[in-house]
Symmetry: C2
Subunit: 233 residues, 2 copies
């Protein structure tokens, strides 16, 4: 079965967590809007009995699955990217939902007044929110994941096998380095295990090939992780 | 099996979506922090192999399950509060994750600069964000759910049977009425089906009994839905 991934064609965004899972799995997929344009995605959002609220969504045979963490829940079970037993499956999903919460807070650093206004209309608020974010939220979220790496000792977040959560944490570290190079450089000594994990994921053959390919869209200032000098002080 | 629900004892918050599911299911549960204090919850967060990032979390036998939508995924399968087949189960979960996104945006109306500052320190930003919220986000989110109710025609969001998503949408309507009585009053004519759903859920015997009991914590200004006159104009 060839999967159809639907996501905005010019950004990594939330779709990137799905792309990383599909790439690591070696799955056969097409990144629809990149090949056929965003209009094909918008049409798909308005058809069928289970219309998604927003991209990304995945067509898998007859299923149309929306919400990033939900897509990963589905793919994890099919491509050995999550534990099989119920307890482990729920645990990996729980961690992914915590990543989801963090991603939304990352987005809010440049959009504290909401997604419907431009960054340029909320720069001073963005500075305040970003300061709070780095003072309280980054230590809380990344400290939590670092602690789990320390406790576990298996090299991956849930043990000795890679899951989609590890791929997502790779993306978090990668994105924070892009968006906040100075702040992140100062912070990284507090999360050595997550930095190791980032390197280990990046060097996996399929991920390495993906990152070097043009399937990996470069970071830019339309995505979740945006580099604004005013926010990286 | 007696479930143990762990959540802040003085607010509805994110725990309320779980409480509503447990009540509708007629499940045997104890609301631990309300009976034994919040310290018992904090201790539980620091023990075991799968420590949750934040409340709510549910102890179900040996399982400790965190993240509201993840808990509902688990309970839905066990208490007939979600479709059994994979497609329906994923669809209900996808909708719950969209509710989750909306809940975070509701929270951000009074905390646009982040959860680590007081509301009183961000009132003018909260006014701006709340205006955007009602102009763009409420119509988008509630319009989406209203559209699904229209398309489906079964009386509940995913068809003719109640799921945990219906319980959550009851809570959304109930909370918006509490937090923004004037704004919501003007908006409700656009979501007649969701208002009907709210009434239908409220009149179910177990939910009705729950809402009349002291197990239902009143809305207040420490939770997600806060009534600030400055934001309801």
């Amino acid at each position: 079965m060839r999967y159809e991934l639907y996501y905005w064609p010019t950004i990594q965004g939330r779709g990137e967590y799905v792309r990383l899972a599909l790439e690591e799995a070696g799955a056969d997929y097409i990144d629809v809007a990149r090949e056929r344009g965003a209009a094909s995605m918008m049409r798909m959002m308005e058809t069928g009995d289970t219309p998604p609220f927003a991209p990304p969504f995945l067509k898998a045979g007859k299923l149309l699955i929306g919400q990033t963490a939900n897509i990963l829940l589905y793919l994890g079970a099919r491509h050995a990217l999550a534990p099989k037993a119920e307890a482990g499956r729920l645990w990996a999903h729980q961690l992914q939902l915590t990543v989801t919460d963090f991603v939304l807070e990352i987005h809010d650093t440049h959009h504290p007044l909401g997604p419907s206004l431009y960054y340029e209309d909320q720069i001073s608020e963005a500075k305040k929110r970003t300061n709070e974010f780095w003072k309280d939220r980054v230590p809380k979220f990344l400290g939590y994941f670092e602690g789990l790496m320390e406790e576990g000792g298996g090299g991956f977040l849930t043990g000795r096998k890679l899951t989609y959560v590890d791929l997502s944490l790779f993306q978090i570290v990668d994105g924070l380095r892009y968006a906040f190079p100075q702040r992140m450089k100062a912070f990284e000594r507090k999360i050595p295990k997550l930095c190791d994990l980032h390197g280990r994921v990046a060097s996996r053959p399929r991920i390495k090939a993906y990152l070097a390919s043009d399937r990996r869209i470069p970071f830019n200032e339309d995505g979740i992780f945006r580099h604004y000098k005013a926010l990286d002080v």
